[in-house]
Symmetry: D2
Amino acid sequence: MIIVMKPKTPAIEIQRISEEINGWNIIAEKSIGKHQVVIGLIGDTTELEPSRVQALSSFIEQVVPIERAFKRVSREFRNGEPSVVAVPTPNGVVQFGQDFPVVHIAGPCSVESESMIIATAQKLKQVGAKFLRGGAYKPRTSPYAFQGHGESALDFLATAREQTGLGIITEVMNVADLEKVAQVADIIQIGARNMHNYSLLKKAGSQSKPIFLKRGMCATIQEWLLAAEYIIAAGNSNIILCERGIRSFDSQFTRNTLDLSVIPVLRTLTHLPIAIDPSHGTGRSEYVPAMAKAAIAAGADSLMIEVHPNPAQALSDGPQSLNPEQYQDLMAEMIQVSQASDCRTKLTPQSAVLTAV
Amino acid sequence: MIIVMKPKTPAIEIQRISEEINGWNIIAEKSIGKHQVVIGLIGDTTELEPSRVQALSSFIEQVVPIERAFKRVSREFRNGEPSVVAVPTPNGVVQFGQDFPVVHIAGPCSVESESMIIATAQKLKQVGAKFLRGGAYKPRTSPYAFQGHGESALDFLATAREQTGLGIITEVMNVADLEKVAQVADIIQIGARNMHNYSLLKKAGSQSKPIFLKRGMCATIQEWLLAAEYIIAAGNSNIILCERGIRSFDSQFTRNTLDLSVIPVLRTLTHLPIAIDPSHGTGRSEYVPAMAKAAIAAGADSLMIEVHPNPAQALSDGPQSLNPEQYQDLMAEMIQVSQASDCRTKLTPQSAVLTAV
Amino acid sequence: MIIVMKPKTPAIEIQRISEEINGWNIIAEKSIGKHQVVIGLIGDTTELEPSRVQALSSFIEQVVPIERAFKRVSREFRNGEPSVVAVPTPNGVVQFGQDFPVVHIAGPCSVESESMIIATAQKLKQVGAKFLRGGAYKPRTSPYAFQGHGESALDFLATAREQTGLGIITEVMNVADLEKVAQVADIIQIGARNMHNYSLLKKAGSQSKPIFLKRGMCATIQEWLLAAEYIIAAGNSNIILCERGIRSFDSQFTRNTLDLSVIPVLRTLTHLPIAIDPSHGTGRSEYVPAMAKAAIAAGADSLMIEVHPNPAQALSDGPQSLNPEQYQDLMAEMIQVSQASDCRTKLTPQSAVLTAV
Amino acid sequence: MIIVMKPKTPAIEIQRISEEINGWNIIAEKSIGKHQVVIGLIGDTTELEPSRVQALSSFIEQVVPIERAFKRVSREFRNGEPSVVAVPTPNGVVQFGQDFPVVHIAGPCSVESESMIIATAQKLKQVGAKFLRGGAYKPRTSPYAFQGHGESALDFLATAREQTGLGIITEVMNVADLEKVAQVADIIQIGARNMHNYSLLKKAGSQSKPIFLKRGMCATIQEWLLAAEYIIAAGNSNIILCERGIRSFDSQFTRNTLDLSVIPVLRTLTHLPIAIDPSHGTGRSEYVPAMAKAAIAAGADSLMIEVHPNPAQALSDGPQSLNPEQYQDLMAEMIQVSQASDCRTKLTPQSAVLTAV
């Protein structure tokens, strides 16, 4: 951490600040520039909050944290090695990670009925998806919008899992539902709106099911990694990060702005696997294929795509859902791009299942 | 709701859509423009989701919701009359609302010790604040940052209330803590990070303590009002809306961008009282006085300001906290501005307590 | 265009507005909903400004423009056909467009010396680029930063063109320099900071060299297309749109947020070719390859990439420049992705030159 | 400037970088932290570009510029003293500055006719405005929108000046028009869309008329001050900074987000006077009064407000224009707030004219 003092700060104030810091078992080292004095803090400053330092004196112009705020999720924490999230499903263990094939997750926004979710799952399995997504609990902006079928939807997902062998991924919205969701889900999703829900993150960290952590709609990359750090610090290191579009100044043609640059950025910052959700990212099904292929070309480890048997009848998110035929066509294209863009030998989706359990 | 069809949509498709809509007990009325056809939906479309309509056909260019998404929080719902949130405190009932004096809320970011919070409360009472704020549970971006003293902090707040008669406002971060917090708090705060936590909003709506609902850091005004709608729809209409700064592209000099224009905008949209938090809004104590006075001149019903007995030693948010002397000076200025800016006869803070309980 | 009236607007006011509009030779058609009246405007409203309509009455809640604000750049204007921008270069005509191979543009941020630009051009030609970029006039945020070598740099570019046959693309910053720039450039760039410089846009439209129009850093897609409309309305339809990253709330790890979703979005809105600049889009050379490949997979018609013979010594934009070897490696990967992602039969870069001139 | 090296950078690389920097006549001082090495640059680094340093090595994690990028506009440059922009008008010299009364500027968006602008000016003079605004050249998003009456409008402004004695402020959009505009205008406006037009800024700096520099719609405060630095570096220090609303994620109810916190922030950063334009800032006349009063309470030195004799008939910006009666009422309220909020003894508007010329 570095403290930049305002021009013309009295020497005695700099002295006072340095002593205060030394009292925290951190060495304060002064550098005198042409206009300003800079104090470098040497020692373990990872858990020191910049605002505490800033508050020491009104002569402080700026506090620059140079050690990363996140630790256990950082790439350095694993000496540069990517981590692998291995998820057992009835059809076998599926591995998410930089050196593994792209894992395909698909399904409707919400579970609307048993027959609907089973039929969808069967189709998706055929096409090559490894996981079925489907909301039982839906975070909706309006209290008057369809809120999901809750527990009964969890039962339908369990049946779909049984009948197809696909893994299940579904969202949890609060601490009280976590156990129930964990009984059915192979991967538990924490949605964009709950990325800052620290109580939920801690609870998710204290159990063992893998967590699919979506980026908050205006979360910085650092805040997102710190949300993951909450989970890992609580004991669960099976985390997949999922970009789903951020909020920008333009939402006339797309619902969000899908920030694909997180793929190369996260690759350097963290060991965790990276997923992309182009359905929420764009909000319009006609834009999904282009962005799905782009995500793969940029190196995504997993793709989550909304597929609904009849988007025109969907209870939620119809406009951004592909129908199964569109998904099948897209899968063929995605496989081609996977094969081509492979500097790091991503294998084809078919080989994603390594061993039967 | 209005449906704009793409140019050259086949007449038969427009027919099909119209029939689908008529099946929902809504009249679809077609207008044929020079280039495009527009379908107006006549009837009660308040609970109809635009995305459901959008999904009806890929020939739909745009769905324009023209009825407001929120109802019970709207100004129209009370025939244009503002609502009043009357909060009983040991010192008397304090009323928040357009036709009442500005209510001043102050206190430290977090409750650090019993003596600290009591001493602060005494000073604030003298200066003219009606409510003491102080965090027991703190939502922190990093898992390694100070997370608040939890239940023991609630006890300290209860003591401060007893000794000074100030009302207490403190944040709840999850459903499980709500009851505990409600036992101490006169007003329960839902913070910016939880504005989209719908489980918490519903729970907050199912109990009777007033709710201080902060705007999410990238929540639109409509989303914020819909969050309030969650609470009111669940049965609790005692809600105060608080702007605390939104996220913009520039955070070099301020932590957030305080959006004071919400004051006149919300005044036309909703009957609920409006509060401003210039401390989080700017993140720097030196900018708080200017923005506090601006908030009052713009017509805010309440001001929440962070005050700490010794900001340089604060465990959190030191840089944005005033010390008690600064707050006292600011209060004098705020009173002057209140008196001057009063087109709507805001009274002086002293007269905020109407009756002793 | 649609006018939404506030609830409880007097009938006489609606009458008055309708008559006013009828006076403009536009038919005002009233629809009475449950809570609100809506007036549809039938006739040619393309040149009618929403703000003029809004200003008619304070009882107007919202004016919804449903006809597109842009015309000649719209896809409909060419009956759904993409346009082709054919640029003669010494090495032959190069065609930009949806049905043509990806055109590769590369070169340094600024032209630093004659030898440097010639050596770079030779290398780029070998690798497969068709155009050499290089700034003579540089828009710099600080007046103290290197502002480009101006006219002498234009001479160096002319020499590089002669010696390699590559086309030249360079930026013009004001009307007075346009003629000079047009003498050397095969394509004239208008940069992000000048996208709203309407005087320059008009002038660019009144001459015949193709224009490479970068998106303003916070321009909406509609504003960007309207900037192109300025050029086309002034007579020049040879325009290539280039996305170079927008400004978002997070710039800790990337300089801008590269918005690749413009590719599928623009494809449906406009007939103009689409280019992507991942160098400015990310600001860091290590992120350029992933985003370049993603852009191609998403369907970009052209890629502009900063390449400098020695990025560590660059006078500007060093951190985002590849060196020639990195560019060569990336080209191999880009070709692979081009071949794979080709639903629309993009050919390989080598075949971009169709005929010698 | 400070260079933060990545963890585990080889010592020899740090040595190499240090030597490179020493070659620039800057001392590189190394501090070894627990995980990372930091190099402090001591000497005059004001004109050193961070990106040049960043480009030195891929082992550099971050370059932190700690000296301000702007110099002559900084508060320190005048030893903490505010500057005064004194503008001679027929009615006397008007002074803009921290220690002077709020200067009121008003008038229509565009000059529509001679009679209209004269009648407006007469009314504004009565009410207490010192300057008449009115656009001759209008930057419009669409090429099909009204572009202003150009030179003839300048003539009308000259007549209005003669007849009322008000100072004139009008916008220049390109270098070629500057001289013409300067012949009529007492203050020349550079609009938000041209804040990054460096050619225009340089030209504005090379003449002597005061410049009214609006903030770009997504310009950071630093970029805005650097735009002013362009003008001052070219020789003209008579600059007034004007905030007019920035672009945010929410534009449903307001056109822009008026960032009033720039008032206290700029006060600490620069000596230049600060103006606020609540008309563009909100885009709706009904929100203008609240924001105008807020601006004054926050300490603005000048207010620019759109006033049109008949907003419903305005050729541009009607919805955000007050009529003269509304402006008169607002003026009374603004004077009251001025008097109340005066910690720094802002005088009443009437006393703004100090001496007749």
